[in-house]
Point group: D3
Chain length 135, copies 6
């Protein structure tokens, strides 16, 4: 019996979209307000989907309390109330767009969730803009 | 023209997670607060997805009023304001986890919706925890 | 500068509406499905409003982290995953209606929040039914 | 790196479900209240999903500001505050059901979004009823 | 013990804002898109607040099932899937703005709810625009 | 006929809570994660309530399109994608707490909305934490 379980989490962070290999004009043209050199920020809403087989004895695919604790330790604790550009080494050379951020969270959680399960991440930058990986 | 239609519904119920083949310690360890012998409860939010071909004459895949009535009769009427462990025979020998409950609702609705249509169930136990079957 | 701050919290519980001084018929007539002797349950959403003066130095009426911890300790820890009728002594002789439950939470929180502040409670039994005290 | 991005939009419109090849009785039977000859209306919520490869330099699949402007120009500007039956030529001969409306918006947006990307539309007629194309 | 109880309801309708005593230019200038002669429509979300004393025996201010039935009979049944301008006599000489519509629903419900209770109406025309009466 | 109208808006910004007259230890103790020297950020949700008399001719308290444009010009344009501490002169000497930010938005909008109307601001820093002024 293959099901998917979902857990929603929440954190907030500052960031700035800026490609150092581009001119200021190109950065302004591509990123607009998101290029503000003093940073801006978001309440990120995160949905973690885990797909796999239900354990017959417990009736659980995976204890949602355990999943919630994994998200707290590996995502919320790492990113909450942080500046993505300045506080997160991964974003030294990677643009902290929602696409790249969603991909990073997928890498982090795939590494700590059992290999026989599939992980998909949905990350809301605002209530109207969000990204999903893998597509 | 193949589309999916969705209908949301709502009901509430009490339940308790407890495996009678386990010791009290193991039940406490696996289910934590959900093992409370006096039960606790939830407002369950249900999303029924039906996939199939649109009828050219009516412009409908299926009348959403009909789908809504099917959900009322076969799900809300059966589970609303009930104790899953005590009032629902299926859960005499099956743990009423969200995974198993989602699967049961899928079985019930697949039986009463035309075979040329596919049914997928999403069941929210809380606004932050939910399950989907089939995955 | 007088403002109001709000904090939302969440917990779930089972309950049953039953007046032992009434006949079964009257209980059934007044409470309907809510009278189910095996209990049913809800995800309760709670909004705590605290009104008072802003501290000029900190810019805070009250640290929302402190308010959140007070709610966790005095409300969530007490009621989450409980059966209101069986696990909460207050409801031995009081009907656990949303009205009475909202009033009880107001009493609990008013006792532990500074007297120079006013507390108002909004308690959602379902997303469509809720109660506010004081009115 | 293949991801999906989503943008939510909002508009409102009037419509009526009526098949001119049917008798009044059959229209009433199939469409019920939706057949009211004086029209009724909805706040439509739209979710546009675009799937494709992330551009390494910009970190974007597609600028969400650009996607938002495309939706404003080709969907909101065309349908907002309109009567679907009377103001939209496409619905002269097609029933403006949510299924057909969702399909039309997919056709419109697929035509103006790069061919190397896939478009999926989710259209809410009410908060509890919605349609997705392709399924 | 004075509390307030709230019940949310939902219906949809078409309307048009047009003052027959004004020129077409003035109507266009004041009402903009809302003046479309073919009508447009909305999913109206309604919140009915009733304030009064809790009955000690039942623990209820008022049975929310009764309140829900009153709203169904006197509001949803009257306005759902209707054209406010053409189907509702009250709006022959009154502009069906959200302000006036909110006031009308207040008059209707105040007449059928016990005089010892106060009624307040909140009416959402869209998720971002709403009106409250009395203020 | 006195009513209240409401308009919701949305913007995002970075900020940091830090009192320069305090030691680092006291700042850390009072503000915790919110004291991060590299800033963090939020999606702010804003509700503007305007109370006054309905104009009998137009049926409007105030055109919500006009109110929406006022909010765009005087709030969204000023604060969206900004760093409150660095980009907003008012917060050079004032802590950008939600309490103080809510008060500032009230001052700004009260100045540009007709004096015969009352303005109240509700500002969400996160979906679970928000502030209202005047209380």
């Amino acid at each position: 019996m293959r099901v998917a379980i979902f857990r929603k989490a929440h954190f907030n962070a500052a960031h700035r979209l800026h490609n150092p290999h581009w001119s200021d004009e190109k950065n302004e043209e591509v990123y607009g307000l998101c290029n503000n050199s003093n940073y801006h920020g978001h309440n990120y809403e995160l949905i973690v989907k885990v797909t796999g087989e239900v354990d017959e004895e417990s009736g659980y695919l995976m204890d949602l309390k355990v999943l919630s604790d994994i998200i707290k330790k590996h995502v919320e604790h790492v990113f909450d109330h942080k500046n993505l550009n300045l506080d997160i080494p991964y974003f030294k050379d990677v643009i902290p767009s929602t696409e790249n951020f969603c991909y990073l969270i997928h890498q982090i959680l795939s590494d700590v969730i059992d290999e026989d399960k599939e992980v998909q991440i949905t990350l809301y930058e605002t209530p109207r803009n969000y990204v999903q990986y893998p597509a």
